[in-house]
Symmetry: C2
DNA sequence: AGCATAAACGGACTTTACCCCGCTTCATAG
DNA sequence: CTATGAAGCGGGGTAAAGTCCGTTTATGCT
């Protein structure tokens, strides 16, 4: 049986990973993202450093793993939650709702998301196979136009770029998060409405 | 004379910085971005490590400095070059030209730009005070609309996001740069045209 | 249960960014 | 021309990321 079953993951490995994630979340809450170090995490979790690397590969991998759970929940809302975010509403309305929800999500998670960014690796959010595809499909349904693929790339960046690239120091910005949210969410709506008119 | 003259920069410092930048460019061309290390650069330039840090502050600072010269040249083209990129054309045409030129610029520089990205620091390109402002002004002139500020943020991200966030491994992508350019540049044009209609 | 095997673990080791502080050198005033 | 003080320089030191490999342990089979 060479390929069929790659032999299920070992129980202790699962336990350890969960424990590491829990510990990481604690450290994150207590001291902030850049106090979460590989050595520190290993020690606090009472595990070897090698184990941490085995599970996450890189420091950014920890944050990617932390994002993953929430990201999954978010995508679930999109795929099967109530409209207009979930299925059932008009495509354009869903697109607007998607952007608003996504901006809120990224504002909540932008510290982690930013920490998940890593040299020589694509961005940890807006994985082309999910966010971008979703935008593309909705756009196609609601307002067919030439070069949908390119537009979808750019709309994805329009959503996720600001929070990954520019708002990296929310504490030093005097703007309240709520104001930033309103600014970007309204801009997104305007953008989509005018684009698909 | 407490404030008027902060005492001009020392000649040897200028010489050293220039030499460091030159050496960095060489190493970059020969071995790629992540072979450019602080120690390596210092040694090759026959200078102390401390000197490198004094000039650039952080590893990313080197790349930021490398970008700076080209960025300045780029902005010059925009501010006083021939239309439609420079002044003289219709605002919307300038906006389209700006995007196309910017995408080409970022494709050329995306390895450096990516390397200039740094923990806890805003993105090294698309500095709000330049790119974003320019987009905002052109948009205002060519197609006034509500929430220009937000839209400008998102258009900036739409331009710069893809190249910083997603296309981080151009060698592993089977697409030719020329195709990527065409895809994004055309998408930008479509985006702007439909947005300002 | 006992065994074989691959997966998981641990922690020493290497590399690299970044800090620090005593020493040197330049630029300016007298 | 020399003194002086601030800017610049150097390189050793620290901490954290990431690698490696010998050891341990869970699991599936007999």
């Amino acid at each position: 049986m060479p390929f069929g079953k790659p032999r299920a993951e070992r129980a202790d490995a699962v336990r350890n990973r969960e424990h590491l994630l829990k510990t990481a979340r604690e450290m994150l809450a207590e001291c902030g993202a850049d106090k979460v170090t590989m050595d520190g995490l290993a020690e606090r979790a009472c595990l070897g450093k090698g184990t941490v690397f085995r599970h996450f590969g890189t420091r950014a991998g920890i944050f990617r793993a932390l994002l993953d759970a929430d990201e999954r929940r978010f995508q679930e809302q999109v795929l099967s939650g109530p409209p207009p975010l979930g299925p059932g509403a008009e495509p354009i309305d869903r697109l607007i709702a998607y952007g608003r929800a996504r901006i809120a999500y990224l504002l909540d998670h932008h510290v982690i998301a930013r920490a998940a960014l890593h040299r020589n690796q694509p961005a940890p959010v807006g994985d082309p196979s999910v966010t971008q595809l979703h935008i593309r499909v909705l756009l196609q349904q609601g307002a067919p136009m030439p070069n949908i693929a390119g537009i979808a790339i750019q709309l994805t960046a329009a959503l996720e770029g600001p929070l990954l690239l520019y708002l990296s120091r929310p504490d030093t910005d005097e703007d309240e998060p709520a104001e930033i949210y309103a600014l970007l969410a309204d801009a997104w709506q305007t953008l989509v409405e005018r684009l698909t008119r």
